[in-house]
C-alpha cells in the first residue's frame, strides 16, 4: 500500500514549509549554532579560566568549613547556596551564593571568582537570545515549535524524500546541490531534529502551559503545581546550625552506594526550614540527577523520585541531558556537535535553495551570506575581545555580527563575502589560540585548554587549506 498526499496539498505544505523556514531562518540559525557550541560549555568554561586548581576528589570535611566560613562572613545569608563538587569532565569545585560565586581550592579556601563571560554569552544566546530571560526563553521555545512545524511540513511536502534517501548529485546546479544537501541531512537527522525541537521548546512552552495547568488543576496555586510535577519541599522547623555536609555525603554513600554526588544545595540557607539537596548521577539513567534530601544535621529525609518516582517525573528530569547530549561522555557530545552543525547546514541551505530559485536578486541575497558567515566571526571575535579587554562579550558579539552583515551589503557578491568571512574566522581561530597562550602562559598548554587551543589552530589551518585547494580547482 502506498501512501500519497494530493499534489495540491503537497504544494501548500511546501509553501508553508518555505514560509516558516524563511520567517525564522536567522533566529533558528543563531539558536542552532549557539546550541552546538554550548554542548561543549563545560570544556569552554575551563578554557576560559585555565589558571585554577583542578582535582577530582575533595575531602568532604572541608566542605563543612567552606559553608561555615560563608555563614560567619555573611551572618544574614539567605536564599540557596550551591556547592559544586569536582567530578569527571569537570574537575573543579565551586561555591555559589547570593553573595557571589567562587572556585574552590582543594583545601577549601576560596580561589578566583567564577567568571566565564564568553561561555555565558553563548549559553544566554542559546537560552534567550540575550533578550530579557523569560520572554527570550519563550521566543526561543517558539523557535522549537516552528522547528517541529518545519519537520512536519518538510516530510509532507517532499513525498520522494525517503525514495531519494541516499541520492546526492554532484556537478549539478547550485540549487540542486543545496537541495540534495538540505534533504539528505534533514531526512537522516530527523529523529535528532525532533528530539532537539521538542526538548528545546519544552523550557519556554512550559512557562505558558504552567499558567493553564495551575489555574485548571491547582486553583492558581503554582507552588502546588510545582510540588506535583517536581516534588514538594520537606516541612522542617529547626534551630539554625551550620549544615553538616560531610555527614550527609557519608550517609548517602551508605544508603545509595551507586549514586555519584556532584552538587550540594543548601535550600533556604540559614533559616529554620533549611535542608540539603544532594544531586547525584546514576550512570545507567538519563535523568540529570536524583536529588537526595537531608536535614541540617545530615540526617536522611528522602529522595525526590527522579529514579524511582512517577514516570513523568523521571522523564521531565531527563530533558536537559537529552537536549544537550550530556550522556555517554565525549563521543555523544561529539555526535551532538556533528548533528548540530548538520542542523545549521539544513537551516542555511533551506534559505539558499529559496534564494537560488528566485528570478531576481535583492537585498536578502547580500545580507544572508554576511549574516551566516558573520556568526562564526562574531563568536570567535567576541571570545578574543573578552579575553583581551574584558569588554562585554554580548556587545562584542552583536557588534561583530552587525559589521559582518553590513560587509555583505557593501561587497554585494555572495562568494566574495563568504570567502572574506571564512578567512576572517580561520584567522581569528588561530589568533585566539595564540592570544590565549600569551595571556595564560603555561596554563594554556595542558588539559582542556591545550585541547581547545590545538582544535582552534587545526580548524583554522584546515579551513584556509580547503579554501586554497578549492580555489586551485
Amino acid at each position: 500500500m502506498k501512501f500519497s498526499l494530493p499534489p495540491a496539498l503537497v504544494k501548500r505544505y511546501l509553501q508553508s514549509h518555505s514560509w516558516i523556514g524563511l520567517a525564522m531562518a536567522a533566529v533558528l540559525y543563531l539558536v542552532c549554532i549557539s546550541g552546538t557550541v554550548t554542548v561543549f560549555a563545560r570544556y569552554l568554561d575551563r578554557w576560559e579560566q585555565p589558571d585554577v586548581q583542578e582535582f577530582t576528589q575533595i575531602d568532604t570535611a572541608i566542605l563543612n568549613n567552606v559553608y561555615r566560613d560563608l555563614v560567619e562572613q555573611t551572618p544574614d545569608l539567605a536564599g540557596d547556596v550551591l556547592v559544586m563538587l569536582p567530578r569527571e569532565g569537570i574537575p573543579r569545585a565551586s561555591l555559589v551564593s547570593s553573595q557571589g560565586a567562587w572556585l574552590l581550592n582543594q583545601d577549601g579556601s576560596r580561589g578566583k571568582v567564577l567568571a566565564s563571560p564568553w561561555t555565558n554569552m553563548l549559553i544566554s544566546l542559546h537560552d534567550h537570545l540575550h533578550l530579557p530571560a523569560t520572554w527570550g526563553m519563550i521566543v526561543v521555545s517558539i523557535t522549537g515549535v516552528l522547528m517541529t512545524a518545519l519537520i512536519v511540513s518538510g516530510f509532507l511536502s517532499h513525498p520522494g524524500i525517503f525514495r531519494d534517501a541516499f541520492h546526492f548529485r554532484q556537478g549539478a546546479s547550485p540549487r540542486l546541490q543545496q537541495t540534495d544537501l538540505h534533504n539528505r541531512l534533514s531526512v537522516w537527522a530527523a529523529p535528532f531534529h525532533l528530539i532537539i525541537a521538542v526538548s528545546g521548546a519544552y523550557f519556554g512552552v512550559a512557562v505558558l502551559m504552567n499558567a493553564i495547568i495551575a489555574s485548571a488543576f491547582f486553583g492558581g496555586d503554582d507552588e502546588a503545581r510545582l510540588a506535583e510535577v517536581f516534588g514538594g519541599p520537606p516541612t522542617l522547623e529547626q534551630e539554625v546550625v551550620p549544615v553538616n555536609i560531610s555527614r550527609a555525603l557519608a550517609t548517602l554513600e551508605e544508603i545509595v552506594p551507586e549514586a555519584d554526588p556532584f552538587y550540594v544545595t543548601i535550600e533556604d540557607a540559614n533559616s529554620p526550614s533549611q535542608y540539603m539537596l544532594i544531586g547525584a548521577h546514576h550512570t545507567d539513567r538519563l535523568i540529570y540527577a536524583e536529588q537526595y534530601r537531608f536535614d541540617q544535621n545530615g540526617d536522611y529525609i528522602d529522595n525526590v523520585g527522579y529514579t524511582d518516582g512517577p514516570v513523568g517525573r523521571q522523564a521531565i528530569f531527563s530533558v536537559f541531558r537529552v537536549h544537550f547530549g550530556h550522556f555517554g561522555g565525549l563521543p555523544v557530545m561529539l555526535l551532538y556537535g556533528f548533528l548540530g552543525i548538520a542542523l545549521c547546514v539544513v537551516c542555511v541551505s533551506g534559505v539558499n535553495i529559496w534564494l537560488n530559485k528566485r528570478k531576481h536578486k535583492d537585498v536578502i541575497n547580500d545580507i544572508w551570506p554576511g549574516f551566516v558567515w558573520g556568526v562564526p566571526v562574531a563568536i570567535l571575535g567576541s571570545a578574543l575581545i573578552s579575553l583581551l579587554s574584558g569588554l562585554s562579550a554580548v556587545s562584542a558579539f552583536w557588534l561583530l555580527l552587525a559589521l559582518s552583515t553590513m560587509l555583505g551589503l557593501v561587497i554585494k557578491t555572495a562568494t566574495i563575502t563568504r570567502r572574506w568571512l571564512i578567512t576572517a574566522s580561520a584567522l581569528l581561530a588561530g589568533v585566539l589560540a595564540a592570544v590565549h597562550a600569551l595571556v595564560y602562559g603555561g596554563d594554556a598548554f595542558h588539559g582542556v585548554a591545550l585541547l581547545i587551543n590545538i582544535s582552534l589552530l587545526v580548524t583554522g589551518c584546515l579551513v584556509i587549506a580547503l579554501m586554497y585547494l578549492r580555489k586551485q580547482r
Binding site: F166, H167, M209, F217, I316, V322, D362
Partner: protein, 182 residues
C-alpha cells in the same frame, strides 16, 4: 551499520523483489538496541537507536557522492553536465515585493499564537482524559504541547483559506477550555 547498509543496497537496486531488504534493514537497526540495552540500559539504547543510524547513513551518502563525482569527471570530457537551465536573473537592490513579505509576516504572526493557544488548551485537556496518574498526565502535556502546537501551526499555515480551519480550531479550543475551567 549492517542495517543501514541493507537499506542502501535496497536503494541502489529499485526492484520490488528486494523489498525484504528494507524490512531486514530496519529490523537490524531495531535489534541494535539489544546490545546497547545490555551495555548501557534501555534509556541510552533508545537514544542511540534514534541518533546513530542517521550518522552511519552518511557513509553511504558519501559513497554516492563519490560515485557521482567520479562519473562527473568522466563525463566532463564528453559533454556538458546536466544542470538546470540558467534563468535570467534581475537584480534589484532593495527588498523585492515588500508588501508580500508584510502579508506573510502578519499571517504568521496571527496564526502562530492562535494555533498555540488552542493546541496547549487541547493538549492539557486531552492528556487529562488519559488513564494516567496526575504527574504523568501533566508531564505528558508539558512535553507534547510543543509538538501539537508545531503540527497545528504547519497545518494552519498550509491552508489557502483560513476561515474554516480557524472556526474548527475555535470549537476545539472552546471545548477544551470548558472541560478545564467549566
Amino acid at each position: 551499520m549492517a542495517g543501514v547498509m541493507l537499506l542502501y543496497f535496497r536503494w541502489c537496486r529499485h526492484t520490488a523483489s528486494q523489498q525484504w531488504w528494507t524490512v531486514a534493514g530496519w529490523l537490524l537497526i531495531a535489534l541494535a538496541t539489544l546490545p546497547w540495552t545490555l551495555a548501557h540500559g534501555i534509556e541510552f539504547a533508545v537514544m542511540y537507536a534514534f541518533l546513530v543510524p542517521g550518522i552511519l547513513a552518511w557513509v553511504f551518502v558519501g559513497r554516492q557522492w563519490f560515485i557521482a563525482t567520479k562519473n562527473q569527471v568522466a563525463k566532463r570530457h564528453d559533454k556538458k553536465p546536466v544542470t538546470e537551465a540558467r534563468r535570467p536573473v534581475t537584480e534589484v537592490y532593495q527588498l523585492h515585493h515588500p508588501q508580500r513579505w508584510l502579508v506573510l509576516l502578519l499571517r504568521t504572526a496571527m496564526v502562530l499564537p492562535y494555533a498555540g493557544a488552542v493546541s496547549l488548551l487541547a493538549t492539557v485537556a486531552l492528556t487529562d482524559l488519559l488513564p494516567l496518574i496526575k504527574n504523568d498526565t501533566l508531564v505528558l502535556a508539558l512535553l507534547a504541547g510543543s509538538l501539537v502546537w508545531g503540527i497545528v501551526a504547519s497545518w494552519l499555515l498550509a491552508q489557502t483559506s483560513l476561515l474554516r480551519p480557524v472556526a474548527a480550531l475555535a470549537v476545539v479550543g472552546l471545548l477544551s477550555a470548558l472541560y478545564l475551567f467549566g
